[in-house]
């Protein structure tokens, strides 16, 4: 047998990479020695000498055993190289320790917070410890530490082996590569540490158990922080006569929306009909007023109260309203606070339409027939206006609602003995202002309202402003002031600016508003904006401070009016900035009219289902026992944050009762332990987010005091808060949606001169640079945003090209910004889409994230096919990390590729639930997975949440470094659940989504055009 000479190790590496020799030869052992000429190799197997010669190896004499070394395979001759420092936390590491030192070593890892260990004892007196996310100190302290380089290939810490990725160890074996030599070890079975631990015996004292006594908790009523609207009126005295008066006063249309019940003892109940579009607002003297429980509609509580202590929905139902056929009323028993109550029930089907009232009372009573006739006379009331607007101004305000003067203020027309002979239309005097009002007042019936709504929903209207105005009148008549305000905002924005003031004035007068008050509700605030447009400026100071609760249209109308009034270009630019921020990405329910929300199955049902799923997930969360790391922060604080996350989710879904319960629970869990600036800031920020979610607002910037508080945090405190923000979607501390927010965070100032010409000169200077620096590009994008869009039409190509100077996430966000601008001015987007599609082939997923966000825009601009193709190609790339693949699949799902999306979602779910996957990866997968499913398929999101809570949650804990404030991993997981279930997008049908997308586009264009 002879040896073969290779010039050096690099030559051997090249031979192996080329694959010119059979694996049976290169994978077998050999002897080797280093000589002046190079490396001498003596394979242990017979070789094809001709092949070796062809490859450039030269034959030589056989090697003597004493002067040569043994190697397990040819690749072992290729030395290791210094490797880059790995990212922390390291997902897995393998420690080789002596069996004598095994116990000490394992104990040490446990004390450093690493609980996920498994052991394999080897026959050579050593043992392998496989640790998940091992502490850094152990990695750099131990002599034999290996990190995974490829399946079954581990390379010593601090080194890399050039051939590690192409090595294929024999079946059932792993190879540990180190400078000192290679070690082939069995690849298992590793035994979990828990199974290997032998705990020292502890003296046991048995305590006999006995059944605990039942604990009786007396339920009481307490004032509610968010009162529900009036829904049921109980008249215990003179009920019949009160209702008779009511019937005589109300228009017949309103009468049809009421139902009543009369008990044998004379007690009378009145409630709104289930078919009524909204709850009636009644003022019945002497009536007890009840509100329906927000989550259990057959349970009625005295208005402004709630049951204490808070109960889960199922408990509440079992205790107070178990029978689905019966309504339950909680009748107060005293004036004390909290108030004891008793439960009175009444059959649901005992209520009859109030229009039958006359028949009921009139049996055998000729006088009562008069009442019936009188009520008939009022049937035309909604169509009759027998007074001038000036007279209406002078009419007495009613106390029917807190902020709106009511119909009684308008003197009703005298009963017409022959109504059929006097058509209402003929008697209608023209109002002095608002010519369209007349038509609106005369023609709306429920059917025609529905027709107008459908027309708007389908985008088939040729006079959108008039259609919206027609809805305003109908909604006001039905007592739906909130919807009326939304519709008026739509109508006014679709009206030329010059006519807005007049139209607003007409509707404000029509709505007959009471004074604003010191702490108005959002619905009233919206009308205050219209009052401002109508020329009433008294409330402007208050309005300036309360813009958060306004819908986007009212918000814009307000600031546009302010900017014009004060000639303040900066105010308008900021308003544009804020509106664009509001419109970006997330859907704000406060902007969505009810007829859109209820399109396609009914928002109420879907929201209920998701809220119930979220309530179930919350219950499961707190009932699940976890294996806690010894390093984890006190659980009470963490669970306090988790409760805030759930409260935010409930708020987004409109489940206000559940949100309040979660908030109260969070307070109890925090107790007095949550002290210090970190907790103070984090809790305040979350509470602000929850309030915004409840009001239907999206996640914009934090309020100014909180932004300031954040800036004033010490470095370490800010670090802790930032870590929380990484885990918490709810806190929404850092907006990463586009380059502007990042740029803003770097301290970019508003330019002093906001005139377009000045801005353009600076922008052009930025764009003139053939090779701009990234900072210049970011500044150019920022300036572009401040400019009226038509100035940008010629510069969008330049902006798109300039984005080429950016890299990775910055480039993706830059392109997204320019795409939005191009969309706003209907400029071509082909080049931008091509650049975005190219980004989908990058090694990081920011391009796919942008596609996920901009999917509606891409669909609308006909660019979806190109991006879909790029995504599908990207999904087939090999060696793509699953998390990256999942983001791409989510983007594909958003563009309609649901099959690919669900296939990868299924894989990701399996991996996130699997115990072998490192915890950090599992958490991240869960987040991406649930976020994607929440938007594309709420049913799948519910199923995924259940599985992850069963299989992943019990192991979620912090095991990295010490964190004294909270368990970040647990908050991360819990909020992933919330994100998956509490996505308002999930509530909408496809037609509604199309409508909203078109609406957003229209609104953006209108506002940008007006900002010019």
């Amino acid at each position: 047998m002879r040896s073969w000479l290779a010039p050096d190790a690099a030559f051997v590496e090249a031979v192996l990479r080329r694959g010119g020799l059979p694996d049976a030869l290169t994978g077998a052992g050999l002897r080797w020695a280093r000589s002046e000429e190079g490396l001498r190799l003596m394979p242990s197997r017979s070789v094809d000498e001709r092949r070796l010669l062809e490859l450039g190896l030269r034959p030589g004499p056989a090697l003597v055993e004493s002067e040569s070394k043994e190697a397990s395979c040819w690749a072992e001759l290729v030395p290791c190289e210094p490797g880059p420092p790995p990212e922390l936390p390291v997902p897995q590491a393998l420690f080789r320790v002596s069996q004598d030192g095994l116990t000490t070593f394992v104990k040490r890892l446990l004390h450093l917070g690493c609980t996920d260990q498994s052991l394999l004892v080897l026959s050579d007196g050593t043992a392998l410890v496989r640790a998940v996310e091992p502490p850094y100190f152990s990695l750099i302290s131990e002599a034999q530490v290996y990190l995974p380089a490829a399946p079954f290939v581990w390379v010593q810490w601090g080194l890399r082996h050039p051939l590690a990725e192409v090595l294929r160890p024999s079946a059932g074996a792993s190879v540990l590569i180190a400078d000192a030599g290679w070690l082939h070890v069995p690849d298992g079975p590793f035994q979990e540490l828990a199974a290997s631990l032998e705990l020292a015996p502890v003296a046991k004292v048995s305590i006999a158990a006995r059944p605990p006594p039942r604990i009786e908790v007396r339920l009481q009523l307490e004032p509610s922080s968010a009162p529900a609207p009036d829904a049921l009126w109980v008249l215990r005295q003179d009920g019949a006569s009160t209702v008779e008066r009511l019937a005589a006063e109300l228009p017949s249309a309103a009468l049809e929306d009421l139902e009543f019940f009369v008990a044998e003892d004379g007690l009378v109940m009145v409630r709104g009909s289930r078919r009524a579009p909204a709850q009636p607002a009644l003022e019945l003297p002497g009536a007890e007023v009840y509100a329906a429980h927000p989550r259990l509609e057959r349970l009625f509580l005295p208005v402004g109260t709630e049951v204490a202590p808070p109960l889960r929905l199922t408990q509440l139902r079992d205790a107070l309203a178990p029978d689905p056929e019966q309504l339950s009323l909680l009748v107060p028993q005293s004036e004390a606070r909290p108030t004891p109550f008793r439960v009175q029930t009444v059959a649901d089907d005992a209520f009859r339409p109030l229009s039958e009232w006359v028949d009921y009372v009139a049996a055998g009573e000729p006088e009562a027939m008069e009442g019936w006739k009188r009520s008939l006379q009022f049937e035309f009331q909604p169509f009759v206006r027998a007074q001038t607007w000036a007279e209406a101004e002078e009419a007495q305000p009613s106390s029917r609602r807190s902020w709106r003067r009511q119909a009684e203020a308008r003197p009703e027309p005298e009963p017409d003995p022959e109504p059929e002979a006097a058509p209402a239309r003929a008697a209608l005097p023209s109002p002095p202002r608002g010519p369209a009002l007349e038509a609106v007042l005369t023609e709306l019936t429920p059917a025609s309202v529905r027709a107008v709504e459908q027309r708007l929903l389908e985008g088939e209207t040729s006079h959108p402003a008039e259609d919206w105005f027609s809805l305003v009148g109908a909604y006001l008549d039905a007592g739906r002031e909130s919807e009326a305000g939304l519709a008026l905002g739509h109508g006014l924005l679709a009206t030329p600016r010059a006519d807005r003031s007049e139209r607003a004035r007409a509707w404000v007068e029509r709505a007959e508003l009471a004074p604003l008050g010191a702490d108005p509700e959002p619905v009233r605030l919206r009308w205050a904006v219209f009052e401002l447009l109508a020329g009433r400026e008294d409330d402007l100071p208050l309005l300036r401070t309360r813009t958060e609760g306004l819908d986007t249209r009212s918000f814009w109308l307000l600031w546009d009016a302010v900017a014009r009034r004060e000639d303040d270009a900066l105010a308008r630019a900021r308003a544009v900035d804020d509106v664009v921020e509001r419109l970006r990405g997330s859907l704000a329910p406060r902007d969505v009219p009810a007829f859109v929300r209820t399109e396609g199955g009914g928002q109420g049902l879907a929201a209920d289902a998701l809220a119930a799923a979220l309530a179930e997930a919350r219950e499961t969360h707190f009932a699940t026992r976890r294996q806690r790391s010894p390093l984890e922060a006190p659980e009470g604080l963490t669970q306090g944050y988790v409760e805030l996350g759930f409260a935010w989710g409930f708020g987004r879904l409109g489940a206000l009762g559940e949100a309040r319960a979660a908030l109260r629970s969070s307070e109890a869990r925090f107790g007095t332990a949550a002290e210090g600036p970190v907790h103070a800031f984090a809790r305040a920020a979350l509470l602000e987010r929850i309030a915004a979610a409840q009001a239907g607002a999206g996640a914009g910037r934090l309020s100014e005091p909180l932004e300031r508080a954040y800036a004033e945090l010490a470095r370490m405190e800010r670090y802790v808060v930032d870590r929380l923000a990484e885990a918490s979607v709810a806190i929404g501390l850092r907006s990463e949606a586009d380059a502007f927010a990042r740029f803003g965070s770097k301290g970019l100032e508003w330019p002093e001169d906001l005139r377009p010409a000045s801005l353009l000169s600076v922008l052009d200077a930025c764009l003139d640079d053939a090779f701009p620096e990234p900072e210049e590009v970011l500044e150019a994008l920022h300036l572009a945003r401040l400019l009226p869009p038509h100035h940008l039409a010629d510069r969008l190509d330049g902006l798109g090209r300039a984005c080429g100077a950016l890299e990775g996430p910055a480039k993706a966000r830059g392109l997204a910004s320019v795409l939005r601008l191009a969309d706003a001015v209907d400029a071509p987007v082909a080049n931008l889409v091509r650049d975005l599609a190219e980004l989908l082939g990058a090694d990081e997923p920011s391009g796919a994230k942008v596609v996920f966000e901009l999917a509606p825009l891409l669909e609308r601009r006909g660019a979806a096919a190109e991006v879909r193709a790029a995504l599908k190609e990207g999904l087939h790339r090999e060696a793509l990390p699953l998390e990256h693949r999942l983001v791409m699949a989510s983007a594909a799902g958003a563009l309609g590729e649901t099959e690919a999306s669900h296939r990868w979602a299924s894989d990701a779910l399996g991996l996130a639930a699997a115990t072998g996957t490192p915890m950090a990866t599992r958490l991240q997968l869960a987040r991406v997975l649930l976020r994607g499913l929440g938007r594309s398929s709420p049913e799948l999101a519910v199923a995924a949440v259940r599985r992850l809570q069963a299989e992943l949650l019990p192991q979620v804990t912090d095991s990295g470094s010490t964190n004294t404030h909270f368990c970040r991993a647990l908050i991360h997981f819990a909020e992933s659940v919330v994100v998956g279930l509490a996505t308002p997008d999930g509530l909408l049908g496809p037609r509604a989504r199309r409508f909203l997308d078109a609406e957003e586009h229209t609104l953006r264009q209108a506002i940008l055009a007006e900002a010019d």
Binding site: L88, K107, R108, H111, L112, G113, P135, Y136, F137, I140, S141, A714, R715, M716, E717, Y719, V720, G960, S961, T962, T964
Partner: protein, 339 residues
């Protein structure tokens, strides 16, 4: 005395080092008896004084920060003339700390301060609320801590300062205070002990009130003096700078004799872990200072080579209260003391 000390050689000091160490150890243990739960801080004050490193005590009011310094001073028998103490505020003027301008000299056109009894002439200084001072004082302090000198009419003169203690309720994040913050390599949390030592605290407090009423200072026992600390400092400085020749003719530096290779490696690993996992970075300058401090602690507490226990000193490296709390919690785990 100082000049006599300056002329002493390493062999002479080596002969005295055992006795010096013994006195300083008795001093720190004796002083510890007059406090509750503060022995670690007193040890640290001794190490800082021996190494001539400034020490910052951080804690809320009423946690004995000032009391520690005052009793330390009494116990060392430092005279009024050699001690300067001042509580700084935003309105404190440089003349209050550095001495007023000599008007007679000013008339002659010279900008001379009358420094007697002020910071420049004091051997031990205690500055309370040190971060509340204004920029004029901050600049003077930085020069004094860094270079041990001050200026009289543009001429640099050495200060007498040997031991500097400072106290603060909080460590501000403001960038213009970063330089001063960085000068305090050692920062120690001074926390309430009422929760763990409630009864002892009451007993000690009553005893102290009695001493105060009677005008007694039993902690001023004269076990060790400032001169002992200075001599020990000189001994350690000379020792750390000295090189020896090994049995095979190789040059042996201080670390070869007093800082075993395994400990040095552990030292490096600890610093690397704190930087990578928790963002606690230690500058090059601080690493050298740390070496000296670890050596000093090892000499004082066990008389020889640096041991793992000495790494407890790293818990005082933090720059913020949160970092200090984190290090207090984490270091024992890393060192295996929590097992």
């Amino acid at each position: 005395m100082a000049s006599a000390l300056e002329s002493m050689t390493l062999p002479e000091l080596s002969e005295r080092s055992g006795a010096l160490r013994d006195r300083i150890n008795r001093f720190r243990l004796a002083l510890g008896r007059f406090f509750v739960g503060k022995q670690d801080l007193i040890d640290l004050m001794c190490v800082a004084a021996l190494a001539r490193e400034p020490l910052l005590l951080v804690g809320p009011p009423g946690t004995a920060k000032s009391d520690l310094v005052l009793k330390f001073r009494d116990a060392l028998g430092i005279s009024e003339a050699d001690y300067f103490e001042y509580t700084l505020t935003r309105f404190t003027e440089p003349s209050e700390v550095m001495g007023p301008i000599d008007v007679a000299e000013l008339k002659e056109g010279r900008y001379i301060r009358r420094v007697q009894g002020r910071l420049p002439t004091s051997r031990m200084v205690f500055l309370d609320e040190v971060f509340k001072s204004n920029s004029a004082i901050l600049n003077s302090l930085l020069t004094i801590i860094n270079e041990r000198k001050y200026y009289q009419d543009g001429t640099p003169l050495p200060v007498a300062l040997e031991v500097l203690f400072a106290a603060t309720n909080e460590i501000p994040e403001l960038s213009d205070l970063a330089a001063l913050r960085d000068r305090f390599c050692l920062k120690a949390l001074c926390e309430s002990v009422a929760q763990d030592h409630f009864l002892e605290l009451i007993d000690a407090g009553l005893a102290f009130s009695t001493y105060k009423d009677l005008g007694q200072k039993p902690w001023a026992e004269g076990i060790a003096s400032m001169e002992d600390f200075l001599a020990a400092h000189r001994y350690l400085s000379l020792s750390m700078a000295a090189t020896r020749v090994g049995p095979e003719g190789e040059v042996l530096r201080d670390r070869h004799l007093f800082f075993p290779e395994a400990r040095l490696q552990e030292f490096r690993r600890l610093l690397e872990t704190l930087a990578r996992e928790d963002g606690v970075f230690v500058s090059d300058r601080k690493i050298v200072k740390l070496y000296r401090l670890l050596r000093t602690r090892a000499w004082l507490l066990h008389g020889g080579r640096v041991e793992r226990d000495d790494f407890r000193l790293l818990a005082y490296l933090g720059d913020t209260v949160e970092e200090l709390q984190l290090l207090q919690d984490k270091l024992p785990r890393l060192l295996g003391f929590a097992e």
